[in-house]
């Protein structure tokens, strides 16, 4: 078994890790979970670095693993929350841009992932589709629905404040 080139991997890790954590954070809204997921994804990357490191786009590989783990985690969390109504661990943490942050949490996990990859990472819809395992048209639908939903929620917020 060949040994991964640690120097090369470390350079890549330092370039990409924080951004992946941030992307995953937009899906999970829990920094510790986001770091867990990103670290697991990079752990898988390290195991496969001798192969994946030679890909044209290893950062897409690790993102795909991370974002799918994040979506799975988010869905599991949302099911768990639905089953244990009331207790919302991690939701009390103060955040930046609170209104949008709160509104984002109400989106389904896949929509949050699409928003993170498109608006934070600036990836076009077909690339987001490849990462999420769905078609580009589905991504566009996710994004349009997300923006519509966010607009509704933020408009409600403004009305509430006005009152």
């Amino acid at each position: 078994m060949s040994v991964p080139d640690e120097r090369e991997f470390s350079d890549f890790f330092r370039r990409e890790f924080e951004r992946v954590v941030r992307t995953v954070y937009l899906v999970l809204h829990d920094q510790q979970s986001a770091e867990d997921v990103a670290q697991d994804a990079f752990g898988q990357l390290y195991t496969n670095w001798t192969t994946v490191g030679g890909y044209d786009n290893p950062q897409a590989w690790v993102r795909r693993v991370a974002i799918r783990m994040a979506v799975r985690t988010a869905r599991r969390e949302s099911t768990r929350r639905a089953l244990t109504r009331g207790a919302l661990p991690g939701w009390a943490k103060p955040e930046r841009d609170l209104d949008l942050a709160v509104a984002l949490r109400t989106l389904p996990a896949q929509q949050r992932a699409a928003v993170a990859l498109h608006y934070y990472e600036d990836r076009p819809a077909d690339e987001v589709g490849t990462l999420l395992g769905c078609s580009a048209s589905t991504v566009r639908t996710h994004l349009a629905r997300a923006r519509t939903r966010l607009a509704e929620l933020l408009a409600d917020e403004e009305v509430d404040h006005a009152e």
């Binding site: 890790f17 770091e35 670290q39 990079f42 599991r76 690339e127």
Partner: protein, 545 residues
């Protein structure tokens, strides 16, 4: 809808507020990857372990802990000078005649009846176990011991002492096994119950049908019932030894695959109660112990995923690339390769022929080979169909009218007041008469329209091939580039028709991002243009930025 810029800016603010100790994480990943120290227990920075009722990978074993079984475990593992010689282990459908049968998965009553049928006299004893109290945990003499008619066999019944430490309530797992072996009532089922065997959805039963227990020849119930009958025989120098199976119970998300068969996509990462029938100290390969995962919502089982003892991952054929083929042909090609085909219809005003997209592609699966060892689910084929809710003809007519005007023709139909937007921010509101004047469409303050590039008429009018639709086609972007257009936010939330009356125009092809632009038209039910928004590339309007 919220402007793209507002979402983008907000999302970036949120994400960029997350600070990470990258070097600490890197050190942890490298340490684990190299296997330094006790890798399995390596404490990684900032990692929170969520406690599970029964941790995955540390399954609670809840049967087959009889005295004879303990001794047998040692023999199966090999001891002393025999340690290098693996014992011959055979899985059998039951013990031979003239021996004590396995009472695994029996109730007290059915165990007694089984032994009496063989001419044995039954007594009862107790054994500490986490099984529900009163449930048989084994026999003395042990399973497989040679006996004669009239011999006494003691059925050991589970009990918990005051200090017995059991991690979980095992009533529910055993209740399902009892149901599978027709020794107990049905558990609670949801209104519909999806059944999967070896990765394939075999049936969807109503809750009533599920409770009747007739799930077919190969089902979760038959797999558990057959698996319960099995015993292992190990040939030893001192004679054959037999071992009952054990019921292992896990809570949490089942592994991605078991015996080479992936967990069905439909259950995603849902948590389940997973029951596995296995034998202690018997190597897994090449057997595949029976396993059933129960998925519940609100205490009612809605999905049952089973892996039979015959479960084997197959050598999968590559997923064929069928984009561009007619749907029927594409479906045949995908099916012939061994994948179920699923068709997704995408409504559009101008459907293209054939399959326009597929998910996944073989390349995506290969690149994702760690996350998903293979693709066992359906291949989604996307085809475009005519819109059923959108007034395509009316919208097309308005778009044509606008393009004609942009190219120097007569003005289109406007509403009495027309909103002009630049970067989704209000620019001006003009009357219909003013809108007829091309000069009113210059978004360059104080610059003649013919000299102003920032005009929806100019950008749309000079383009030969203009596309229109509900969304901009991002796949036009050159290379890996993401073209950003000026988006100032502030789209009015009222006064505009809904999304089904919104059309975006954009150049069909662009060589660089500097060539990109988009014009959005909002059109009322009478086909009149209510509002026009212009987006142009960043860098093209320094004064605005």
């Amino acid at each position: 809808m919220l402007s793209e810029d507002r979402v983008r800016a907000g999302v970036r603010r949120i994400a960029n507020g997350v600070e990470v100790d990258t070097d600490a994480h890197l050190a942890a990943v490298l340490a684990k990857g190299r296997g330094r120290g006790d890798a399995a227990n390596a404490r990684l920075p900032a990692r929170r372990r969520r406690p599970l009722l029964v941790p995955l990978g540390a399954a609670l074993t809840v049967a087959g802990v009889v005295a004879g079984g303990t001794a047998l475990s040692g023999m199966l593992g090999g001891t002393g000078s025999d340690a290098d010689r693996a014992p011959l282990v055979v899985v059998l459908p039951g013990t031979p005649d003239g021996t004590v049968p396995s009472v695994f998965a029996h109730t007290r009553e059915s165990a007694a009846a089984l032994l009496r049928d063989r001419g044995l006299e039954v007594r009862y004893g107790k054994q500490i176990s986490c099984d529900p109290a009163g449930r048989p945990t084994g026999t003395a003499p042990a399973t497989g011991t040679r006996v004669q008619r009239g011999d006494v066999v003691t059925v050991l019944l589970s009990y918990q002492a005051a200090n017995t430490d059991c991690a979980s309530d095992l009533l529910e797992p055993w209740r399902f096994v009892d149901f599978a072996t027709s020794r107990g009532p049905a558990p609670q089922f949801a209104e519909e119950v999806d059944l999967y065997v070896d990765g394939v959805r075999t049936e969807t039963l109503s809750g009533t049908e599920a409770a009747e227990g007739d799930w077919g020849a190969t089902s979760a119930l038959s797999i558990l019932a057959d698996g319960s009958e099995r015993v292992v025989r190990s040939e030893q120098e001192v004679g054959d030894a037999y071992l009952m199976p054990q019921l292992q119970v896990n809570e949490g998300t089942p592994p991605d695959s078991w015996c080479g068969v992936a967990r069905p996509r439909a259950v995603a990462a849902r948590e389940a109660l997973t029951l596995t029938l296995d034998f202690a100290d018997v190597p897994l390969e090449p057997r595949c112990p029976a396993r059933v995962a129960l998925y519940e919502t609100g205490g009612a089982i809605d999905t049952v995923v089973a892996w039979s003892e015959a479960a084997r991952g197959s050598d999968l054929e590559p997923i064929p690339d069928v984009v561009g083929l007619p749907l029927v042909e594409a479906r045949d090609v995908v099916t012939a390769a061994g994948y179920p085909a699923r068709v997704e219809e995408s409504e559009t005003c101008h459907p293209r022929r054939g399959v326009v997209e597929q998910a996944p592609t073989q390349r995506a699966v290969v690149e994702d080979s760690v996350d998903d060892p293979g693709w066992y689910g359906p291949v989604t084929l996307v085809v475009e169909v005519p819109h059923t809710t959108r007034d395509c003809a009316g919208l097309d007519a308005a778009v044509s009218g606008f393009l004609r005007f942009a190219r120097g023709g007569p003005p289109p139909e406007w509403t009495p007041e027309v909103q002009q937007l630049f970067g989704y921010a209000p620019w001006d509101t003009v009357t219909a008469d003013t809108a007829d004047d091309r000069a009113a469409w210059s978004f360059c303050s104080g610059v003649a329209p013919e000299s102003c590039e920032v005009s929806p008429l100019v950008v749309a009018g000079r383009e030969e091939d203009v596309e229109s639709g509900e969304f901009v086609d991002y796949s036009r972007f050159p290379g890996d580039e993401v073209c950003e257009l000026i988006d100032l936010g502030g789209l009015p939330t009222s006064g505009l028709p809904g999304r089904d009356r919104e059309v975006v125009l954009y150049p069909a092809e662009i060589a660089t991002c500097d060539d990109d632009w988009s014009v959005t038209l909002w059109i009322d039910d009478s086909g009149r243009i209510v509002a026009v928004n212009l987006l142009v590339p960043r860098g093209s309007v320094p004064a605005v930025e």
